[in-house]
Symmetry: C2
Subunit: 342 residues, 2 copies
């Protein structure tokens, strides 16, 4: 059965669609009841709290309609697991609501499910339930609610940073912002003196964020506050400051960037703002209690996750100050990604 677009339409009821495509994703989670019941049952281990996060992705807003369905699926799960990791949680399960323009094509569903399976395997998480429905208007909407466990009372919050704490990020910042410019085909991006492999790597950083799962133990041991960077380092840093009622002084030169980003930045210095305010990093921003920096860094090294001290928390509610190598404060306005204002 083929529709006008040449795609193979799925001649299935909602029930068959779930049984065929989604039930295999739930097979390792007994509380999912093979997706044949109306609800799932979660049994968090004794002594743990359940951390819950919800992030929704909409085509044309969070991804391009012609992105590979496997990449869209990966990202939908990754952005939620990224929140779990930043709270110190170990991933447990997730619920998926998927609205697709009817009829769904077998090609889309197969690729989408493949992306979910890859992400599940990497993140150690299983599908526990969800809902599939037709969507009117042509847009695809994916909402994931992810569950993780944290030792009772230990969930990391945005609001725990204190003056004197050091401010860290994991990985490198701004790759996804450059990847998005490449994915969109922005004119300036074509001129960056980087090779094809670097371009692909930056685009992949945008399409396939990798939550820093192995960093959780180090965060639980030494972080006073943490969040993932989804809307840009600058705006998310301001959020952490506001929740903690402290300020932060960040040195732009200390912010870790990839070699690919550094080369692009050398050719186009104005990219600095894009790196520091662009969204989709999905790295962890966290404050470390004063005096515990060496222990944190040792634990991160042990876990194989690069972390970099980018500044420190300061008294007062002045928010974020980013200074350049000459000590001049940089102003990016209220830079960052806002779904309703961008």
């Amino acid at each position: 059965m083929a529709d006008e677009g040449g795609k193979t339409a799925v001649p299935l009821s909602e029930e068959s669609l779930i049984a065929h495509y989604f039930a295999p994703l739930a097979q390792n989670f007994p509380g999912a009841y093979a997706l044949q019941d109306d609800a799932a049952v979660l049994e968090p281990p004794a002594g743990t709290d359940l951390v819950v996060t919800t992030d929704a992705l909409v085509s044309g807003v969070h991804f391009f309609s012609d992105d590979a369905p496997a990449d869209i699926a990966w990202k939908a799960l990754a952005v939620n697991v990224s929140d779990l990791v930043a709270k110190g949680a170990t991933p447990l399960a997730y619920s998926l609501a998927l609205a697709l323009p009817p009829p769904p094509s077998a090609e889309f569903l197969e690729s989408f499910v493949e992306g979910l399976a890859e992400a599940q395997a990497q993140f150690g998480i299983a599908l526990s339930g969800g809902d599939t429905t037709a969507a009117k208007g042509g847009a695809i909407m994916i909402s994931v609610t992810a569950f993780g466990t944290v030792p009772h009372g230990k969930t990391l919050r945005r609001g725990g940073a204190r003056p004197g704490d050091s401010l860290y990020v994991s990985g490198t910042i701004g790759d996804a912002a450059l990847g998005l410019k490449l994915r969109r085909g922005d004119a300036d991006a074509a001129a960056w003196p980087i090779d094809e492999a670097a371009r692909k790597w930056l685009i992949r950083r945008y399409l396939r964020p990798e939550p820093r799962l192995r960093l959780s133990p180090a965060l639980l041991a030494h972080a006073s506050a943490a969040m993932d960077i989804s809307d840009g380092l600058a705006i998310d840093c301001r959020r952490l400051c506001k929740a903690s009622a402290v300020g932060a002084a960040v040195g732009a030169a200390a912010v870790p960037v990839s070699l690919a980003a550094a080369v692009a930045l050398t050719a186009e210095p104005a990219l600095l703002a894009a790196l520091l305010t662009g969204g989709d990093d999905y790295e962890v921003l966290f404050a470390v209690r004063a005096g515990e920096e060496a222990a944190l860094e040792a634990a991160a090294t042990q876990a194989g996750i690069p972390v970099t001290r980018i500044g420190k928390m300061i008294a007062g509610e002045q928010g974020l100050t980013i200074i350049d190598a000459e000590g001049t404060a940089l102003d990016f306005g209220s830079g960052g990604f806002d779904h309703f204002q961008s």
Copy 2:
């Protein structure tokens, strides 16, 4: 600030929108952290399991774009709480993903939040977190993931019915199917000899389903299997039979209908199929262990929830047989609502 439609656009960032409209819905749930963090923390009481269900609603599929936002919000929460109740769970909290065509209007948001607040108060549930985003294509999508607690190991399943068990429903069946016909302005509905109050009541049964919260203790004590009726009595009864690997014999005359539905049915006997196969009842369908019928009925009476025995579970996997008053088997085909096939 007004857009072309005369609606008041909300000149707010996503953060302000959450703080202004949604944070009040979370104020009674400490683990929501006033919606100012990236995740919520659930602490199910010791000795309980967490029951999780996800249902998504899309405009043009599950509701009309010009339904009152308060009604849309009520229904989004009610259909999820209905699943919790049918599993024997006590509502705890819910996560909300909301995708709206930008910019969201203040009128929409105020009415939507009012509907959620009304539903929360009636269902004893609080907002724990979620996500708001712009939607492209004009459609509204609402995905709710609801959490409830059940004594450890006691979650009611679809699959526990045994031959000899009695089959029951709560409330009356088919009101929402008639309410939908009235809401759509179907030609036949105009001819039903019912007054304006009855029409409004039927439409309200469609727009504002009321989960049978107080029935949970009776279900936990006496039911062998349970599910809510969302896609029509006939198809959902078949699902319960299939999951339990038993059949069911139902007497059409025993199915409880409201006075309004009975009058419409008298004028238009063909409505019987709509009553038995129409969706959106959100009543509970459940099997009661043989010999426990009187105790179940006493407990339901005590709780103030009407329940009616409509048939019994029988051996074999013949599925569902509905017989009329003369003992003739009725055939509705595979009647029921399917989101991709309807």
